[in-house]
Amino acid sequence: MQNKTTHSLWLVAPAAIMVAIFFLYPLFFSLYSAVTLEDGSLTLAHLTKAFSLYSNDILFTIAIVLASVVVLAILSITISAMIVLSPFKSLVSLLGLLYRLPLFIPFIVTAQMMRTFLAKNGLMNNAFVASGMMTPMDTISFLGWTGIIITFVWKQLAFSTLLLSGAMAALDQNQIRAAQNLGASRVRILFHIMLPQVFPTLGVALVLSTVTMMSVLSVPLMIGTGTPTMMSADMAFRVNSYGDYNVANALGLVSYLICSGLAWFYLRQSLKDKGATA
């Protein structure tokens, strides 16, 4: 028995070592460097500095991410519900194809695209002007926080809709029919029958999207207006301009905490949900 356990330990060792070297070590090293001085003593100096320099950006990041996540949730629920519940099948299959396109476009290309689309003299405004709906004077630039949100949502919508509509389509069709012949409308079916059952999937989609948004550099750099900007841009700036890894890592620690905060909220919510129906 004892022998067997040691044996199987040896089997997982290579994988465990890989994880430790390439994942755990860098992670802990960066966390460590966020809270220590050169001589190895613990300090809050880097964190304090990060907050004093970038507290606005941290708030800005949180606001952007929360706004994007809310819009993302609303839109992906709407689109998935339309795909799964709509009686117009041909329209739905077109929609089903369209919403997936952003999945295959990298963030940097998306950012570039949105830049030319949303700028003051960009494609969107030009189209409005050409169609006579606006004069060149009235046009406003969407670059800045709205642009960042639009870009994040545009890019992540495909991902979360894919997860969500998959989960909705996997529900037993008869559950929906049972609600229907008890007199429930489509909207009621969505809120009473489908959403409670796909809530965990929605949570996963939103938490993963948050992590992605926190880590993307190209969007705040290309769509943002400079100040305030997102934490990922600040981190890049600290490293590239000052070689200041400590403050960059301190910012990293903060964004890590924000993500875990969201994950905790999601976990608590889904546990509470289970508890309520148990």
């Binding site: 037993d172 049972a178 008890l182 007199g183 009473h192 409670p196 059952q197």
Partner: protein
């Protein structure tokens, strides 16, 4: 609860037509069983009634109300599903009360009705349990209570018992029947178990390839099936095609011949169906009287199977294999004489142009029964 009237209903998926010209009236408080082999369109018919499958022709009426094109949520017809289709995130009480909640009935009234229904289906103590913790039989009773809660005009049940094991199935079967008598709901129940249909239904509609082959009281369907398909489906699994050759072999009266006698109502180019329970088997093959009121034939035992109250003996008679019930076991190759009284024979003409078609039907239904 009111009467359901289906007139010349046509329905299908895309351009694949499944239901052809179905006409059926379910009287108020009546339970009709839809019986038929797999794929014949039973579920499709129920779905068309509920509004899940669009109707391409004909009319559906509940009382005086034409509901043919009404959306599912306005029909007031509820369905009990084979897979229960309960909502796993809700409790038993929430499942049962959902239809009333949708109708915006007051909370106390919902509670009262849920309580009443749960005691009717004998689940009174389980109101706050999660449905995922219930057994199959309990789940199906919750589904039944849920469907009855809104007092539907018509209740349809799609093989409500086939996910349950044999014993539970009998229990729930009795419960549904008792409830139906007590509450008097108009209902259609789908099954492909003939015994279930016989026991539960006031009338039976036998469906084949999207058409009603026969509609009648259980006794009628069982004792005088109108078509070879119905005869075969209702358990008359022995079939003999009475060819002109067989007819002439009888007339010559050869003592070695396969057939010893036939009743006078059987003539050439007919086919005959009968049940194994109506076959009398004797091992004394020398004793034969040329009796014009029985079909009798010679054969050898192929195998016998123990069925509890009797043995089901397979007898090879020339190219036919006949199943006969017998009180004791017989070794293989025992020569036997089989006889079937005329009243137990279901005799049908074979129209020559129709012949191949009739065979095909019988083939499929036979293979279905052996599954």
């Amino acid at each position: 609860m009111t009467r359901l009237n289906i007139e010349n209903l046509n329905a299908g998926y895309g351009n694949k037509q499944i239901l052809n010209d179905i006409s059926l009236t379910v009287e108020q408080g009546e339970m009709i069983a839809l019986l038929g082999p797999s794929g014949c369109g039973k579920t499709t018919l129920l779905n068309a009634l509920c509004g899940f499958v669009p109707v391409s022709g004909g009319k559906i009426k509940v009382g005086n109300r034409d509901i043919t094109t009404l959306p599912a949520e306005n029909r007031n017809i509820t369905m009990v599903f084979q897979s229960y289709a309960l909502w796993p995130h809700m409790t038993v009480a929430q499942n049962v009360g959902y239809g009333l909640k949708v109708q915006k009935v007051a909370r106390e009234e919902i509670e009262e009705r849920v309580h009443e229904l749960l005691s009717i289906v004998r689940l009174a103590g389980l109101a706050n349990d999660k449905v995922t913790t219930l057994s199959g039989g309990q789940r199906q009773r919750v589904a039944l209570a849920r469907a009855l809660a809104i007092r539907p005009d018509v209740l349809v049940l799609d093989e409500p018992l086939s996910n349950l094991d044999a014993k539970v199935r009998l229990n729930v079967r009795h419960e549904i029947k008792a409830l139906q008598k007590q509450l008097g709901f108009t209902s259609l129940i789908v099954t492909h178990d003939q015994e279930e249909a016989l026991v539960m239904a006031d009338r039976i509609a036998v469906l084949n390839k999207g058409q009603i082959e026969q509609l009648g009281r259980p006794e009628e369907i069982y004792q005088s099936p109108k078509t070879p398909f119905v005869a075969n489906f209702m358990g008359a699994e022995n079939q003999i095609v009475w060819t002109p050759e067989l007819e002439s072999s009888i007339l010559t009266g050869n003592s070695e011949a396969l057939f010893v006698s036939r009743p006078t109502n059987l003539t050439a180019n007919q086919q005959v169906f009968f049940r194994s329970e109506n076959v009398t088997l004797i091992t004394n093959t020398s004793r034969f009287d040329n009796d014009n009121s029985v079909l009798s034939l010679r054969g050898h035992v192929m195998q016998s199977a123990f069925f509890g109250n009797n043995y089901r003996i397979s007898v090879q008679c020339g190219e036919h294999i006949i199943q006969a019930d017998h009180t004791c076991d017989l070794p293989a190759n025992t020569p036997v004489l089989l006889s079937v009284p005329a009243h137990a024979l279901h005799v049908y003409d074979i129209e020559t142009s129709f012949k191949s078609n009739a065979y095909a039907t019988i083939q499929t239904s036979t293979s279905f029964q052996t599954i």
